[in-house]
Amino acid sequence: MSRKLLLEHINVPGINTLEVYRQKGGYRAVEKALKTLTPEEIVEEVKKSGLRGRGGAGFPTGMKWSFLAKPEGVARYLVCNADESEPGTFKDRYLMTYIPHALIEGMIVSSFALGAKVSYIYVRGEMMPQIRILEKAIAEAKAAGWLGKNILGTGYDLELYVQPGGGAYICGEETALLESLEGKRGNPRIKPPFPAIAGLYGCPTVVNNVESIAAVVPIINDGGDEYAKIGIGRSTGTKLISASGNLVKPGVYEIELGLPVEEFIYSDEYCGGIANGKRLKATVAGGSSVPILPANLTLKYANGEPRLMSYESLSEGGFATGTMMGSGGFIAFDEDQCIVRNTWNFSRFYHHESCGQCSPCREGTGWMEKVLHKIEHGHGNMEDVDLLWDIQRKIEGNTICPLGDAAAWPVASAIRHFRDEFEWHIKEPVKSQSQNYGIANYATPIEKAPVTEEK
């Protein structure tokens, strides 16, 4: 059993209440931080922990905190990004549903460290049940003196509010989130200035993912050095992985970073293998935006060494043979899934969610969706595959925010690794409507890959 820092008490009945959470050692981090540490010391602990942003970018949280501008007489804000909308990711929903006080405790400690007197948790609007859970938990915490004026008699004041979104993937991008929190359309801002200088209402602001903020609690309780001992290399600590798709046991798992991917997929402690006795064809390891990999490259590097669940190992091989940790949304595809259909589905998603500000993304995502629809439905031409490649190249890197890249990468990687399958759809327009291309050689170890495709 690997160590659990966030979900250790998840199965304790009533852990969603303040009383039980407190019995299990909850709010110790607030006591320790407010009574014995200075804000600078907390930032230092988080730096030492090596914690990297759990929302997808993987930027070191302590470093992000240290960039926060602190002009005299200007309010500072901490905003928690609970807009979780990356397809394949549902860990934050899980945490907020079952152990809401973990987030609130993390918010108090982090707000204190950053000098924020008012903090917001921006929750995607569809998560109304979670919003109600959080509001109830905040009311409990406030009634018990963990929030409000003069917390624990230390003179520190903090108000915490929950803000619902309106249903827009783009608001997971931090500057779009801030625009939305200001009551506007979620159009990402041009950076610089970064939120650390001019964020919410033009004031210095830190935006952190739910899981990052919750991880501050064990970091303060045990110390940054202890946290950094877990994991592997620069991937320290534990990570929540949302497992979905054709798995025996989909769900949210807390893993120590560095776990072999094969163990995560096949061991009974985690996903328990592929559902219905089928074989694994492909995975998307970090949420829909990251490159899709065939089964063979998911489990092993091109040189045959085992791939691990860590930021570095998942990206080993670059985009040629690797992928990314992303938000930890692990999607498994069995042998009967169609990569073309899934790529079309993801493209439709990005087209739907593009805010429309930048032409390459606004036009390109729709164009890719149309071309993919054509191929999937048996009307494609061979040139369409090259056209898709060309379009995604022209989106990537040419937009204000990373949604453009996020839309381009799934298409690029699908063509890179599954070109045979795209071409089969075009060469067999009738057959491809009634049957699947199958697993082909995608699960065959790289060094033994046959030159010609299987029948």
């Binding site: 609007g125 998560m127 803000q163 209402y201 979905s244 899934n342």
Partner: protein, 170 residues
């Protein structure tokens, strides 16, 4: 959509306005526009959709231009700009849910309810639509029902049938 003449004016109840006031208190005094998204949710929970006169009233309340409300209401997908069924079913249609059968659930709903996506059943009880990822990928297929946004997970055609019967008898 924004045909004012076809829509009856609205008067917000004092209970609703009290909720508005509570929400507005969460932000700095000169930043009350921040309340816009939560206010539109409150309006939708009350009326089951967001009409133009209601948006105008929200603008008046927040002391902003009506266009500032329209542009927000049309940008975000959760706000219904025309009346829906009493139970508006929203089925996730994004990748991970499709891997486990979301498309079948959508076509089953169409057959079961006898209406197309976006239409309301004759009795006014149901409407449905496909929506993008609802962040419940491990429990797919999933649907949610506004305005409470109750979630129903691991759907099968049989469980959808049962859900619809239960709602009819509610």
């Amino acid at each position: 959509m924004l045909k004012v003449e076809e829509q009856t004016p609205v008067v917000f109840s004092s209970e609703l306005l009290a909720k508005f006031d509570e929400v507005k208190g969460r932000y700095p005094a000169d930043k009350s526009k921040s309340a816009l998204l939560p206010l539109l949710h409150l309006v939708q929970a009350e009326y089951l959709w967001v009409s133009t006169p209601a948006m105008d009233k929200v603008a008046e309340y927040l002391n902003i231009q009506p266009i500032e409300v329209y542009e927000v209401a049309t940008f975000y997908t959760m706000y219904f700009l025309k009346p829906q069924g009493k139970y508006a079913l929203e089925v996730c249609r994004t990748g991970p849910c499709c891997l486990v059968g979301a498309e079948k659930i959508l076509s089953h709903l169409e057959n079961k309810l006898g209406v197309k996506e976006g239409e309301v059943t004759a009795d006014g009880l149901f409407s449905f639509r496909g929506v993008e990822c609802l962040a419940a990928c491990g429990y797919g297929p999933v649907l949610q029902i506004s305005p409470e946004y109750t979630f129903y997970e691991n759907l099968t055609e049989a469980s959808v049938d049962k859900l619809i019967e239960d709602l009819k008898n509610k």
